[in-house]
Amino acid sequence: MTKTLPLAKSNPHPLEPFIQKLLGAEALLPDSETNVLEVVGILKSYGVVLDAYSKNLIYIADHQFLVLFPFFKYFNGRVTLPQLLRHWWHDRINFEYAEYCMKTMLWHGGGKMDEYLDSDDFLRHCQAAVAAKIKTNLPIRVLDSLFPDFLPEQVRQLAYYSALGQFWRVMSDLFIDLSDAYDGVRVQTIPEVVAFIKAGLVAAAANPIAYAVEIDGTSYELLPKSAGLTFLMDVAVPYVEAVFFRGTPFLGTVSYNAQANQISVDQGRFDYGALYADPLPVGGAGIPPTLLMQDMRHYLPDYLTAFYQSSGRGLDDVRVKICQSFQKSMFCVTSASLQGLLPHPADTQDPRERATNHAFLAGWMDRLATSRLDVVQL
């Protein structure tokens, strides 16, 4: 009999405990009473805000089609003096944040929708709609002649307006339902929260993403159902990639100097998304989440307000606290997304499928190594 040396154990992934958590249907966020309270409470207010964002994005896509100076795009077609005054007084929903997310998706691209928007099929649909729209508009026709790529790019952006609006429509309802389930004591733990979100995502996974615009009584398809774009893979995943992981560097009190290589030239290595963001600069001009936090603070459930009141600076730094809770909730959504995207069922017993699942999650964990995953564990 020949003695052999024991096989050296391969080095475990530095974030192996989190991989095991996800494989075990747990979340990246620890389960605790306060974490549940924060996550559900913040998602409730996020749901309310997303409802408004969603309606506005869809309104812009449908009714501000190739309006190059859309002065009243945030009014959803109802422009009155009191609304204008409220807008100027800034007592309003900050739709600019929704556009920030849309532009982040457009910029980073990714997924089948991005591919479709570069296809000849899209260009054909697009040109038909553009031609109908500018038929009687001489200045824009001149513009289109001089810069033939300009209007199609505008239409691509409008397609993202619509797609993000449709995505947030589903997420808004999902988060409100989650809040109702929490209020009805049907959801009480973080794993249950993750399971609820995952179920919602999976249920909507195959929903078609389509976009058509009506011009002079005729409907022009821009994202036709025949393109086969679906909710989960073609919008949700690129959204998570663009907004949660990549984002854009802040333009405010925390700015980055691209010339000094403080921003990676490799877009794939961008790490400025919601999962990496430092909540402390929230409140400063140019910090993207500030507007979202500003909006959410109006719709906080009472129990969450009371919770915030009891710590730190009370409600003086409520936006930072909202941002921290929001970040926790985004780790829950990320958990649900990753579990929903696992190549094989999480509880599979097939060693090869388990290895594939592990490798899939290890890839994501590599990217989360520099995120605030360690901070939300506290």
Partner: protein, 540 residues
């Protein structure tokens, strides 16, 4: 009535000493605050009755005291002392207000603050040289104790250093006063008697050097300044506010009142040297401030630089520059008090003043946005940004001194530019960037839980900021009180100014043009009788 300004704080101190049982900090603060508020009201009442057209002492009080020694209890108020009295009462009130709610040896703390206020008021009001000296010395021990008992970790060293320096200052001043009386053959130490002294230049010069060094230590001027940064760093915030805002002014007040006022021949002879000394102090103070990483030390060194402007303006002794000395004293009093106040709030909130550690404090949610805004206002005022009192005072200093000492004035203007540099460093390092008080090598994602600054803490800074802007926008509100007194101080130097004027504009500002007063608040008579261009003014 003037005696009341000295007695009220002393009576309040006596009340605190005799207070039966345990004295709560709040009670001590209330009693002290009320007494100082009363003195402030009293000064305001005096100001309403103050005759702007009278250059000499008003509301005089004279009581014979130790007549064989020439010591009388003679008080008087003029345009030089009135603004400084207001600042004394105001900043003492601020110091009481910002004192920590819980203190060990509460009774002693407030008694010492009250005694300092009383002594400083007495020094500004004294119209007798010995009486001034008594009050000048009276504030030393309370200040020594305030640093030694309630100071930082090296309080013993700082307090002792302060005491040694200022005691030496007192010895020199007393020697100069005694020499002035002995050499002039006077029997009285009354200010007016000293004024009449006509001594040979050599004797005057000796006395003036003693006075300049004596008061130069207090100001402080290079190289007698080393006690100041230590004292500031170790002193608590209220004491720093008083020290920078009021107590340093005893030095500049002494230079102007006794040096400029009593020894004109020596003053004219030594003026170029004084202007050069001012330049050295300004540049040294500014460069030293740039090198600091402790916020408080930076502000302390800035004081050395800014006090140098007073010496430059006094040395020039033109009508405008003498007004500038008063303006610069008040301006520096308000601005430095604001800056030290804010540094105190930063220290209380973050636990550090280290500019290599602090950053991002302007963060609107978790940082100190109000403190940051006020700090930016304060440093802008200190750097002479228009619209604030610092600009007016520096403009007057440079405007008044340039004709006499153009080179020194230009060099001092470089110091003004350096002020912007070091304060920009301060603001940039501490207030901009990502919020963190931990060094960069610490936890990379440290969440900072800074306690918020309440409106109670913000109120005094806001009050000082209002005054800084108000006097910056309407300088006449301040200048009108001093114009006639400073004009009288200038009288002996008219010939000197004319003789030394290097650059005469083609149209030398007429009297009315040089006035600070706005048309609406213009005084009925011309204030600055600067001679119109004449054949007597020699061009270089």
């Amino acid at each position: 009535m003037l005696s009341a300004l000295i007695l009220i704080p002393l009576v309040a101190a006596l009340v605190l000493i005799l207070w039966p049982g345990k004295l709560e900090a709040q009670t001590a603060k209330l009693v002290s605050g009320l007494s100082l508020a009363l003195t402030l009201v009293l000064v305001a009442l005096l100001a309403t009755r103050f005759d702007l057209a009278t250059p000499g002492f008003q509301f005089e009080e004279l009581l014979p005291w130790v007549e064989p020694l020439g010591l009388s209890y003679r008080l008087g108020l003029d345009g030089l002392s009135l603004p400084l009295l207001v600042v004394n009462s105001l900043l003492s009130l601020v110091a009481i207000y910002i004192s920590a709610p819980t203190l060990h040896r509460t009774r002693l703390y407030y008694v010492l603050l009250l005694v300092i206020n009383s002594a400083v008021a007495g020094a500004f009001l004294a119209a007798n040289l010995l009486l001034f000296f008594i009050f000048y010395e009276l504030e030393l021990i309370p200040l020594y104790l305030l640093i030694a008992i309630w100071g930082g970790s090296r309080r013993g060293y700082a307090a002792t250093k302060f005491l040694i320096y200022t005691a030496l200052s007192g010895v020199l001043i007393l020697g100069a006063f005694l020499g002035l009386v002995w050499l002039s053959g006077n029997t009285s130490f009354d200010y007016d008697s000293g004024l009449a002294a006509a001594l040979p230049l050599a004797q005057q010069s000796t006395l003036l050097v003693a006075l300049l060094v004596g008061f130069g230590i207090k100001v402080p001027l290079f190289p007698f300044h080393t006690w100041l940064p230590d004292a500031h760093v170790e002193a608590s915030t209220p004491v720093s506010v008083l020290l920078a805002g009021v107590l340093l002014k005893l030095g500049t007040y002494g230079v102007v009142r006794f040096g400029l006022g009593l020894l004109p021949d020596a003053w004219m002879a030594l003026a170029p040297w004084m202007a050069t000394w001012a330049v050295i102090s300004v540049l040294y103070g500014s460069l030293a401030a740039i090198a600091q990483t402790d916020m408080k030390k930076m502000v302390a060194y800035s004081s050395i630089g800014h006090m140098g402007y007073v010496l430059l303006a006094a040395a020039a002794s033109t009508p405008v520059s003498i007004v500038a000395t008063v303006f610069q004293m008040i301006s520096h009093g308000l601005i430095s008090a604001l800056l030290f106040l804010l540094v105190g709030v930063v220290y209380k909130t973050t636990g550090t003043r280290d500019l290599t550690v602090l950053r991002g404090l302007l963060n609107p949610e978790r940082g100190l946005p109000f403190v940051g805004s006020m700090m930016i206002l304060g440093v802008m005022a200190s750097a002479g940004i228009p619209g604030m009192v610092g600009f007016i005072s520096e403009f007057l200093v440079f405007r008044g001194s340039f004709l006499i000492f153009p080179v020194q004035t230009l060099l001092c203007m470089v110091g003004s530019g350096l002020t912007a540099v070091y304060f920009l460093l301060l603001v940039n390092r501490a207030f901009f960037g990502r919020l963190a008080i931990a060094p960069p090598t610490a936890a990379p994602q440290l969440d900072i839980e800074l306690p918020s600054v309440t409106w109670r803490d913000r109120a005094p800074a806001l009050g000082l900021a209002v005054l800084i802007i108000a006097f910056g926008l309407q300088p006449n509100w301040l200048a009108r009180w001093s114009e006639h007194t400073t004009l009288a101080l200038h009288q002996p130097y008219q010939g000197f100014v004319q003789a030394r004027t290097r650059f005469v504009p083609t149209a030398l500002p007429a009297v009315a043009d040089t006035r600070l007063v706005s048309p609406s608040l213009a005084l009925p008579t011309p204030v600055f009788p600067v001679a119109a261009p004449s054949a007597e003014i020699s061009l270089p």
